[in-house]
C-alpha cells in the first residue's frame, strides 16, 4: 500500500490507527470522545488555528461521523475552510459540507456566498470544487442563487471541458431538486442541445443526462436533440473500437454514452423524418448484429458492456413498438439469453421480456417461451430470478394460456418466499378472474388460493370472490357446494370460514336438498368453527345464522338458542352483542314475510374497476405498463338488469396511470364492498343502491339514514356524491363533484344554504373548491358540519357551472 498521505495530515492516520486498534466498542468510544474533546478545545482556543490544523481536525470529525457518531460542532470551521485559498483546505471544507451538512442550516447563506466566490474566481479547479459541491447537495436556495451563473458557465465558449461537465450535472441536480426555481432561458436551449455533439466525450456524456431530464420537462422545446442523438449514436456504433481511445471500454466503444443516448431516445416516439428513422433502425440493427458476433475478449467486462448496450437498445425497440422485424429479433435475442449460463443475463432477459409481452407485435413471440419461463420458475435457485419469472408469466398471460399459467403460479405459491406471497395472491386472483371462461374454474382456483395462502389473502381478494358469486347466478349453487366441502376440511383458514359463511348464508338453500348438506348439517358445520374465530368473523357468522333463520325455519329454534347463549347475548365484544340481541329480537317479532323481505338475497353489485388492481398498483407502481387492446370503459352507476360481462368491465389494465386515477376517482367510494357489506350484513335494509337513470335524479335523502356515502345528485353532465364520517356531533364530510362530460366544467361554484332555524342548528365549514373540473374527472371538497342542536330540515346545495 502506497503511503498516499505522505506527510499530509499525519495526525489523521495515527487517529485512524488508534481506532482500529481498539479492542472493544467501549474503548473505541472512549478514544473518540477523547479526540472530540481535544478538537473542541482547539476550536475554542483563543489563537486562531492555521488552515492546515483546521483541515486536519475537520477531516478527523468527518471520519468520526462516518463511523456512525453524531457530530454537533465544527460546522463553522468547515465553512471557514471554504474561504481559504489553499486548494486542499477548500477541498476538505467542501467534503465535510457535502457529507454532513446536506440539510438546511443557518450557514446556508454563508456557504452559498463561498460557492459563488469560487465559481466566479476564474480558477478552474476552484470552480470545479464549487460545482461539485452544488451537484452533491444542491437544493432550492442554491437553485435560486445560481440560476443564471451555472447555465452561463455551461454554454459559454470559454469554459474548459472539465468545468462544462461539472456544470451540466450541477444543473441537472438543481433541476431535480427544485425545477421551479430554475429559470432556463430559451436562448440556452439550442446550445445545450448542441453539447450532444461536443468533441469531448466526457462533456457529451454529462450533457446527455441533463438533456434527458430537461426533455422530460418540456419535450417540445428540446425536440431538436433527437436528430443529434441518432447521428451521434450511429457514429459510435459503427465505429471501430480503436477510434475512441480511452473512451473504449474493453473493446466496446463508449458504452455509457451509447446507453444514455438510447435512453434519451426513449422519451420520444419514433422519429417522423424518414431518413432519421431509417438511420436509427440501422443503428439498432447493427447493435443486434454485433451481439451475435463472437466475443472479442474473455473478460466478463467486455460481454457486460456489450450486453448493456444491447439491452438498452432492446428497451428502445420495445418503446418504439413499430418495427415488427426488430421486435421479433429482440425477442429471439432475449430468448437466447433466457437459457444463458450467466444468472445475470437470465434475470435481465426475464425482465425485458416482461415489457415485450405487452406489445401486440411481439406478444405471440413471447408466448413461445412459456415452457422456458415455467422451468425457470421451478428450477432457478435465485429467488430474485424466480420473482422475475412470475412477473413475466403474469405479463404474458392471456386467454389461451391462462389455465396453465394460473396453475403453475398456484403450485409455486405453495413454496414461495413469504415476502412475495401477497403479491402473488393478488396476481393469481386478477388473472383467474380476467380470463375465466368458466366461473366454476375461477371459484375452484380462489378457494384453493385461500387454502394455500390464507394469511396473505387480503380482504379485497375475498370480497371480490363474493362479488363475483353474487353477480353470477349460474355459479351460485356450485359456490355453495364447494364452500360447504371446503369447510369440512379439518383445518380451515379463517378467511375460508368467512367466505364460506357468507356464501352459505346467501345460497345455502341451493344445496339444502342434498342429504349431505341439510340445513342442520350446514349450521352445525359452521358453528363448529364458530368459537375458533376472531370477533369479526363471528359477527359475519351471526349474520349468516340470521339468514338461515329466514331460509330454514325448521332450525330457527336451534339458532335462537345460540343467539341467546351468554357468549353472544352478553358478549364483551359490542358488535357481537348487538347483532345477537337484534337478530334474536328480529326473529321473535317478525312474521315470515317481513323476514323474507328484510333478509332478501343480495342484489348484484354495480360494475366497477377491480379494487384488486388498485391494490396491486400500490404494491408495485411500475409494473403495470401493460397495454390491453380492450378499450377502457367508463363505468357508470346505473343499475342495469342485465349484468354486463363482469370480466371485461371490471378489470382494466390501463396504460396511463393518470386516466386510471381519474376513472378510479369518479366512483371511488360509492357502493364499495365495505359499505355494502357492513350494511348488507347486519340487515338488508339498504335499498337497491342506485335508482339512477339517465335523467336528472335527486336521490332520496332517506337513504342517508342508513348510509354514510352515496350519490346525491346525478344527471347526464354531472354527478355529486357525498361521503361522511361522524364523530359525536361533528360530521366530517367530503363532497365529490364528478364531470361526466368530455368538456371542462368551469366557473364552478357551490353554495350551501341553511335556511331559517337551520342556521342556528348547524354549522358548516367547507374548503374552497377548485373552479374547474376536467373531463371525466372528479374533484373533492372537504369540510365539517357541526350539529349544535337538533334539526329537522335539510340544507340546500346550490351548484353552478359553465
Amino acid at each position: 500500500m502506497r503511503n498516499m498521505r505522505g506527510d499530509a495530515m499525519r495526525g489523521l492516520a495515527v487517529f485512524i490507527s488508534d481506532i482500529r486498534n481498539c479492542k472493544s466498542r467501549e474503548a473505541e468510544l472512549r478514544r473518540i470522545n477523547k479526540e472530540l474533546t481535544n478538537i473542541r478545545q482547539r476550536f475554542r482556543a483563543d489563537k486562531t488555528l492555521d488552515g492546515y490544523q483546521k483541515k486536519k481536525y475537520v477531516c478527523k470529525l468527518l471520519f468520526i461521523f462516518l463511523l456512525g457518531h453524531d457530530i454537533d460542532f465544527g460546522y463553522m470551521e468547515a465553512v471557514n475552510l471554504l474561504s481559504s485559498n489553499k486548494y486542499t483546505e477548500k477541498q476538505i471544507g467542501y467534503l465535510f459540507i457535502s457529507v454532513i451538512m446536506n440539510s438546511s442550516t443557518e450557514m446556508k447563506q454563508l456557504i452559498i456566498q463561498n460557492i459563488r466566490n469560487d465559481i466566479q474566481s476564474r480558477n478552474p479547479i476552484f470552480i470545479n470544487l464549487a460545482l461539485q459541491c452544488v451537484a452533491n447537495i444542491g437544493d432550492k436556495e442554491m437553485a435560486t442563487a445560481f440560476t443564471h451563473e451555472i447555465p452561463r458557465l455551461l454554454t459559454s465558449g470559454d469554459t474548459i471541458d472539465p468545468v462544462k461537465q461539472s456544470a451540466a450535472l450541477c444543473l441537472l441536480r438543481l433541476h431535480r431538486t427544485s425545477p421551479e426555481s430554475l429559470q432556463l432561458n430559451t436562448e440556452w436551449t439550442a446550445r445545450i442541445i448542441h453539447l450532444l455533439n461536443d468533441q469531448h466525450l466526457g462533456v457529451a456524456t454529462a450533457a446527455v443526462s441533463l438533456i434527458d431530464a430537461l426533455v422530460k420537462r418540456s419535450p417540445d422545446e428540446y425536440k431538436g436533440c433527437v436528430n443529434l442523438a441518432v447521428s451521434r449514436l450511429s457514429r459510435i456504433v459503427t465505429s471501430s473500437y480503436t477510434d475512441f481511445q480511452d473512451y473504449t471500454y474493453y473493446f466496446v466503444p463508449a458504452p455509457w454514452l451509447c446507453v444514455k443516448l438510447l435512453r434519451l431516445l426513449q422519451n420520444y416516439p419514433p422519429p417522423d423524418d424518414p431518413s432519421v428513422r431509417s438511420r436509427l433502425n440501422e443503428c439498432l440493427d447493427t447493435i443486434l448484429n454485433k451481439a451475435q458476433e463472437p466475443l472479442k475478449s474473455k473478460k466478463v467486462q467486455h460481454s457486460n458492456a456489450r450486453n448493456a448496450v444491447l439491452f438498452e437498445a432492446i428497451n428502445l425497440i420495445i418503446h418504439m413498438d413499430c418495427e415488427s422485424s426488430l421486435l421479433v429479433r429482440a425477442c429471439n435475442q432475449l430468448g437466447q439469453f433466457l437459457q444463458n449460463r450467466e444468472t445475470n443475463l437470465r434475470y435481465l432477459a426475464l425482465e425485458s421480456m416482461c415489457l415485450l409481452a405487452t406489445s401486440e407485435f411481439s406478444h405471440e413471440a413471447v408466448k413461445k417461451h412459456q415452457e422456458t419461463v415455467i422451468n425457470a420458475l421451478k428450477s432457478e435457485r435465485d429467488v430474485s430470478v424466480r420473482q422475475r419469472a412470475v412477473d413475466l408469466l403474469y405479463a404474458m398471460c392471456d386467454r389461451s394460456n391462462a389455465e396453465d399459467i394460473v396453475q403453475e403460479m398456484l403450485t409455486y405459491l405453495e413454496t414461495a418466499d413469504y415476502t412475495i406471497r401477497e403479491e402473488m395472491v393478488l396476481k393469481i386472483a386478477i388473472l383467474s378472474e380476467k380470463y375465466a371462461v368458466d366461473y366454476k374454474w375461477y371459484l375452484d382456483i380462489m378457494l384453493k388460493l385461500i387454502r394455500i395462502a390464507g394469511d396473505f389473502v387480503s380482504e379485497e381478494v375475498w370480497y371480490r370472490v363474493i362479488q363475483v358469486v353474487v353477480n353470477r347466478s349460474d355459479v351460485q349453487s356450485y359456490a355453495a357446494k364447494i364452500a360447504f366441502e371446503a369447510l369440512q376440511a379439518p383445518a380451515c383458514h379463517e378467511n375460508m370460514i368467512k367466505v364460506a359463511g357468507y356464501i352459505l348464508g346467501e345460497y345455502g338453500n341451493l344445496i339444502a336438498l342434498d342429504l349431505r348438506s341439510t340445513p342442520m348439517i350446514q349450521f352445525d358445520l359452521l358453528h363448529s368453527k364458530y368459537h375458533l374465530c376472531s370477533p369479526t368473523t363471528r359477527s359475519l357468522l351471526l349474520s349468516t345464522y340470521m339468514k338461515f333463520i329466514n331460509l330454514f325455519p325448521e332450525i330457527k329454534q336451534h339458532i335462537q338458542d345460540v343467539l341467546r347463549h351468554d357468549s353472544n347475548y352478553r358478549s364483551s365484544d359490542v358488535e357481537i352483542q348487538q347483532r345477537a340481541i337484534e337478530y334474536l329480537r328480529l326473529s321473535e317479532i317478525c312474521s315470515p314475510t317481513v323476514l323474507a323481505t328484510v333478509l332478501e338475497i343480495m342484489p348484484p353489485y354495480p360494475e366497477k374497476q377491480s379494487p384488486l388492481l388498485v391494490r396491486l398498483k400500490q404494491k408495485k407502481p411500475l409494473m403495470e405498463a401493460e397495454n390491453n387492446s380492450e378499450p377502457s370503459v367508463t363505468t357508470t352507476t346505473t343499475h342495469t338488469e342485465d349484468v354486463p360481462k363482469f370480466a371485461e368491465t371490471a378489470i382494466h389494465l390501463n396504460q396511463q396511470q393518470q386516466q386510471q386515477q381519474q376513472q378510479n376517482g369518479l366512483l371511488v367510494s360509492f357502493d364499495t364492498i365495505e359499505s355494502n357489506t357492513h350494511f348488507g350484513e347486519s340487515t338488508s335494509y339498504s335499498l337497491p343502491s342506485t335508482i339512477t337513470t339517465t335523467e336528472t335524479t335527486i336521490q332520496s335523502s332517506k337513504k342517508f339514514l342508513f348510509k354514510n356515502s352515496d350519490i346525491i345528485f346525478e344527471n347526464d353532465l354531472l354527478q355529486i356524491g357525498i361521503k361522511g364520517e361522524a364523530t359525536k356531533h361533528i360530521l366530517r364530510v367530503e363532497f365529490y363533484y364528478g364531470n361526466k362530460t368530455n368538456f371542462n366544467l368551469t366557473n364552478i361554484s357551490t353554495n350551501i344554504t341553511l335556511l331559517d332555524e337551520l342556521e342556528s342548528e348547524l354549522r358548516l365549514n367547507l374548503e374552497p373548491i377548485k373552479p374547474t373540473i376536467d373531463p371525466k374527472a372528479q374533484i373533492k371538497q372537504s369540510g365539517t358540519i357541526e350539529c349544535l342542536q337538533e334539526f329537522r330540515d335539510l340544507p340546500k346545495i346550490n351548484f353552478s357551472f359553465l
Binding site: Q91, L169, L172, G202, T205, Y249, L348, S384
Partner: protein, 159 residues
C-alpha cells in the same frame, strides 16, 4: 440516476457511503442496515441484481469488500455493474493494488475520486486517464502546499 453507493466489508462494517439524494441521518442508517443485511445474506451464485423497495440494487464483491449501488427503475443494471468495476479500476490504479485498508486510511481520496467519476448520481467522465489525471493533479497541488508550509516554517526556524 444512482441514488446511493455503499461499500461495506463482509462483517458488515460500512467503509464508504455516497448519497445522491437528501435523506435524514436516521433514514440513511436504517437503509444501510437493512441493505447490508439483505446483500450479505445472498449466496455466491445468485444474480448481482435484486429488487429492493422501489429501487434496483446492483452489487459485486471484490475481495473483502461489497460494492453496492442503488439505481432507479429505468437505469441499466449491466452498465451499473461496469460502473462499479470502473470505480474499482480507478482505485486500483491510484493506490496500486488497492485493498480495504487503503480505503479506510484514505477515505477522503476515495470521495474525491468518486466526484471526478460520478456527479449528481450520473456518470460524468468515463475516460480512466482523465479521471486519474485530475486526481494526480490534486496530489501535486497537495504536495506544493505542503512544500510551501514546510518552507515557511523553515524560514521561521520552526521546522
Amino acid at each position: 440516476m444512482i441514488q446511493f453507493i455503499l461499500l461495506f466489508s463482509r462483517q458488515g462494517k460500512l467503509r464508504l457511503q455516497k448519497w445522491y439524494t437528501s435523506q435524514t441521518e436516521k433514514s440513511k442508517k436504517k437503509i444501510t442496515r437493512e441493505l447490508i443485511a439483505t446483500v450479505l445474506s445472498r449466496k455466491p451464485k445468485m444474480s448481482s441484481f435484486l429488487e429492493w423497495k422501489d429501487l434496483k440494487i446492483v452489487y459485486k464483491r471484490y475481495a473483502s469488500l461489497y460494492f453496492c449501488c442503488a439505481i432507479e427503475q429505468e437505469d441499466n443494471e449491466l452498465l451499473t455493474l461496469e460502473t462499479i468495476h470502473r470505480y474499482v479500476e480507478l482505485l486500483d490504479k491510484y493506490f496500486g493494488s488497492v485493498c480495504e485498508l487503503d480505503i479506510i486510511f484514505n477515505f477522503e481520496k476515495a470521495y474525491f475520486i468518486f466526484d471526478e467519476f460520478i456527479l449528481g448520481g450520473e456518470i460524468q467522465e468515463t475516460s480512466k486517464k482523465s479521471v486519474l489525471k485530475a486526481i494526480n493533479d490534486q496530489d501535486v497541488i497537495q504536495e506544493e502546499e505542503l512544500e510551501e508550509k514546510r518552507s515557511v516554517l523553515e524560514d521561521l526556524g520552526l521546522a
